[in-house]
């Protein structure tokens, strides 16, 4: 038994060593999570009028960290831990942060995927979608269709993106979308749709045959990955500001 005791002692030490290593890597992970939690708290406690100043004075975060931060925001929102104002402020921070001149991205696709919405202002869903896909290495561009669709049509005719995404925040936006979809299908574009009206009233999906309704952002990202596979031959570097020229007409 003595030998076995020694062997077991050694085994215990090995287990301790591997656990120490595991603990260290967990600590590293926790370190990043702590940074994001601190950031979240700072934004929520801040004066929401000066998000730009907050971004300017913030630490630097990797694209992966910002992606994780978006996931944190979604989890907190679903758990009813955020007021609408707090969530909007967090998304605004991310949006502005990602638009800073120094932030570099490596995208999987060359032609930006249009993210369209029918409001005159940038809804939280579009802001979230834009930041989430961008931090998932998809080149995307925002298109506000509140006043006109002309710029979207011009972009499609000129750049021929393989897919268009719509985020619908109000029931009254469903009608203009039904009018736009046949034009998109005529040009062999895949149409991806999401938004609250389709969650609240699933039967609305029946008005959009041939369109895709992903269940969540993760499924959307996987879907885009598949659709854009052919566009992935060459990696490109570009700044977001170049891709956003079509956004916000107001």
């Amino acid at each position: 038994m003595g030998d076995i005791g020694k062997i077991n002692d050694k085994r215990v030490k090995e287990v301790e060593t591997s656990q120490t290593q595991r603990k260290r890597s967990e600590e590293a992970l926790t370190g990043s999570e702590n940074r994001l939690s601190t950031l979240m708290k700072r934004i929520i406690d801040s004066d929401y009028d000066s998000i730009e100043e907050l971004v300017a004075g913030s630490e630097s975060y990797s694209i992966g960290e910002i992606h994780a931060f978006l996931n944190h925001i979604m989890v907190a929102w679903r758990a009813n831990e955020l007021t609408p104002a707090a969530m909007y402020a967090l998304l605004k921070f991310v949006y502005i942060y990602l638009n800073q001149p120094g932030i570099q991205f490596s995208f999987k696709n060359r032609t930006p995927v249009p993210i369209c919405y029918f409001s005159s202002y940038l809804p939280a869903s579009a802001s979230l979608l834009h930041s989430y896909l961008k931090t998932s290495s998809f080149a995307v561009g925002l298109f506000s269709l509140g006043e006109t669709e002309r710029h979207l049509r011009e972009f499609i005719e000129k750049k021929r993106p393989p897919v268009v995404i719509f985020t619908i925040s109000q029931f009254l936006h469903v009608h203009p979308l039904t009018k736009l979809v046949p034009y998109l299908h005529d040009r062999n574009l895949l149409v991806i749709i999401g938004g609250i009206p389709f969650v609240y009233d699933e039967s609305l999906k029946l008005a959009f045959p041939g369109c895709i309704f992903p269940r969540d952002l993760n499924e959307l990202a996987l879907l885009l990955e598949k659709i854009l596979k052919e566009d992935r031959d060459e990696e490109i570097d570009c700044r977001h500001s170049d891709l956003c020229i079509y956004a916000r007409t107001n």
Partner: protein, 568 residues
């Protein structure tokens, strides 16, 4: 045609306008207001509750509510032909009509009516981050202007609107509307509801209970019902069941509940939580239109001094025009459920422990054999593997019992019975036990000639294994475990005796019940879930047999089972 009664489940933000519309209509109406889901996080059960109430109490039911909750439409599908929803996706679309609403929306105008500018002002400001310097982000980016949707009968000072607009940092304009559009939607919905209404059973055909029957029925209700006055917040009524369930007369109970300084009813650790929680709920209902019932589980004292666990729910009760007239609460005794919950929690904890213990040994032994194999002698390696095999066998038996029990509970136990020799089954099982426990002496007394029994061999092995394992566990090292068999007319009686600690008469009664081992103080060093005897009982009974024991504390125990003979 008889005058139909109409229930209207409405968003509380449009209750006044609905009431105004109804004044010009002829039917008899009852309003059921629900707080706005656009501002509050609400459970769909609240909608279900009011739809159930309205459909039960009225001939037809209308729903005057926007599509503001993700589960509202799926819920409405279940009330098809019973509830008609007014056209419109939200309140303002119903007030203003689709075109006007779309125009305001396109211009990014923030539409608000009186209810939001007064009753839910604080919630709204908190949600939008207004009232502080935080208003800018959401409101400033999303809205260009505030529009107060004003109805003729609103008695709201413009100063208040101005003040609100200033707080959120927006300009404002006033849009005067009447209830014409809402009235039209209401009439359309009513016409649709009347055309689909089903004729109810005439009241004369319904048999109502006699007074004596009614009393019996009321007495059998297992809930204490009480009423609270909305002005004084005092308990004004309690049902007579309070004597039977909580041990107080109605007047004693009302005295206790209305005197917040007396602590006799609540457990001291729960008192503040319950009293303050209930009071806050009443105030929020009255001031903010909250409706989700208040639920609390807490410890209370029975009139005889015993401690009880009770569940209390309180909800507002409305008059026909949708105004809160009182609060109704109910108290249920959940002591038994709490006890069972506790047993289950303990059981889950024990299962995790019992599964983890052998796995730790197996993993440790196998890992040591793998990593240190070259340095170990063959004897040491064999010992490690033997330890692992033994623990694996224990684990397998543990899981076997759990599975067997779950099959029985789910009525999925199938016996593959055939004529088998008990002698061989006993000998095999005893040999297996000898291998597992060399410290005990096994004595088997089996008559030379035994008729076969009609049994499922694997199940019989499990029964014997569990009984022998128990005998070994509770016997001292070196103790005797004896197995005897005696044929009777229709069955064989198998007895398994040990020289263990014995079991008192009071414990014997609980021995074959689920989780009962947990109720006893566990013996030092004895492993297992305490399910063995329960599994034995279920399996023996499934064979048409019986299980019992003879035992005295300090003088060992003998467990007996019967198995049907094959010829019988």
């Amino acid at each position: 045609m008889k005058k139909l009664t109409v229930g209207i489940v409405t968003c509380a933000s449009m209750r006044e306008q609905i009431e105004e519309c109804l004044a010009s209509l002829e039917s008899s109406f009852r309003i059921y207001p629900i707080a706005p889901a656009c501002t509050f996080s609400m459970k769909i059960e609240l909608f279900r509750h009011y739809l159930d109430k309205a459909t039960t109490e009225n001939d037809v039911t209308l729903l005057s509510y926007g599509i503001c909750h993700p589960q509202l439409l799926p819920l409405l599908a279940k009330y098809r032909n019973r509830v008609v929803k007014l056209e419109g996706n939200n309140c303002y679309e119903m007030f203003l009509g689709s075109e006007k609403y779309a125009e305001y929306h396109r211009k990014c105008y923030w539409m608000l009516n009186k209810a939001f500018l007064t009753t839910w002002k604080n919630e709204l400001l908190t949600g939008f981050g207004a009232g502080t310097s935080k208003a800018g982000t959401l409101i400033g980016d999303a809205f260009k202007k505030l529009v107060y949707v004003r109805f003729d009968k609103d008695e709201l000072s413009v100063d208040l609107v101005e003040d609100f607009a200033r707080t959120v940092g927006l300009e404002y304009e006033i849009c005067s509307v009447d209830t014409a559009n809402l009235n039209r939607l209401l009439e359309e919905a009513l016409a649709s509801a009347y055309s689909t209404v089903k004729v109810k059973t005439p009241k004369s055909l319904v048999s109502y209970p006699q007074e004596s029957e009614m009393r019996t029925m009321l007495e059998s209700i297992s809930e204490v019902i009480y009423k609270v006055d909305i002005h004084t917040k005092q308990f004004t009524f309690v049902s007579p069941q309070v004597k039977r369930i909580l041990g107080y007369t109605p007047s004693e109970f009302l005295d206790i509940m209305n005197d917040y300084l007396r602590t006799s009813f609540y457990h001291q650790d729960d008192r503040h939580r319950v009293v303050a929680g209930r009071y806050n709920f009443l105030v929020r209902c009255l001031n903010e239109g909250m409706q989700e019932p208040y639920d609390a589980e807490y410890r209370a004292k029975h009139g005889n001094g015993d401690e009880l666990w009770v569940k209390e729910s309180v909800y507002p009760s409305y008059s026909s025009d949708g105004i809160i007239e009182s609060f109704v609460g109910k108290i249920t005794d959940i002591t038994e459920r709490k006890k069972l919950d506790q047993l289950k929690d303990d059981f889950i904890g024990l299962v995790s422990h019992e599964l983890r213990s052998p796995l730790t040994v197996i993993t440790g032994a196998v890992n040591t054999a793998l990593t240190e194999g070259a340095r170990l002698s063959p004897g040491e390696t064999r010992q490690l593997l033997k330890d692992a095999a033994l623990e694996a066998e224990l684990l397998s038996n543990l899981l076997g019992n759990l599975l067997e029990l779950s099959r029985v509970q789910a009525n999925r136990l199938v016996l593959y019975a055939e004529a088998i020799s008990v002698k061989k089954v006993i000998q095999d099982t005893v040999e297996e036990m000898k291998r597992l426990s060399s410290a005990h002496q096994f004595i088997v007394n089996i008559p030379r000639k035994l008729p076969p029994v009609y049994a499922d061999q694997l199940r019989l092995e499990r029964i014997l294994h569990n009984l022998l394992e128990n005998a070994v566990k509770y016997s001292p090292q070196g103790g005797q475990v004896q197995v005897s068999v005696k044929p009777e007319e229709e069955h064989l009686v198998i007895g398994i005796s040990d020289q263990g600690v014995g079991i008192s008469l009071s414990d014997q009664a609980k021995l074959f019940e689920p989780f009962q081992r947990l109720g006893q103080s566990r013996l030092e060093g004895v492993r297992g879930l305490g399910l063995g005897l329960l599994v034995c009982r279920r399996l023996v009974e499934a064979h048409g047999g019986r299980i019992w024991l003879k035992s005295e504390p300090g003088r060992g125990s003998t467990f007996f089972i019967t198995m049907p003979l094959s010829h019988s």
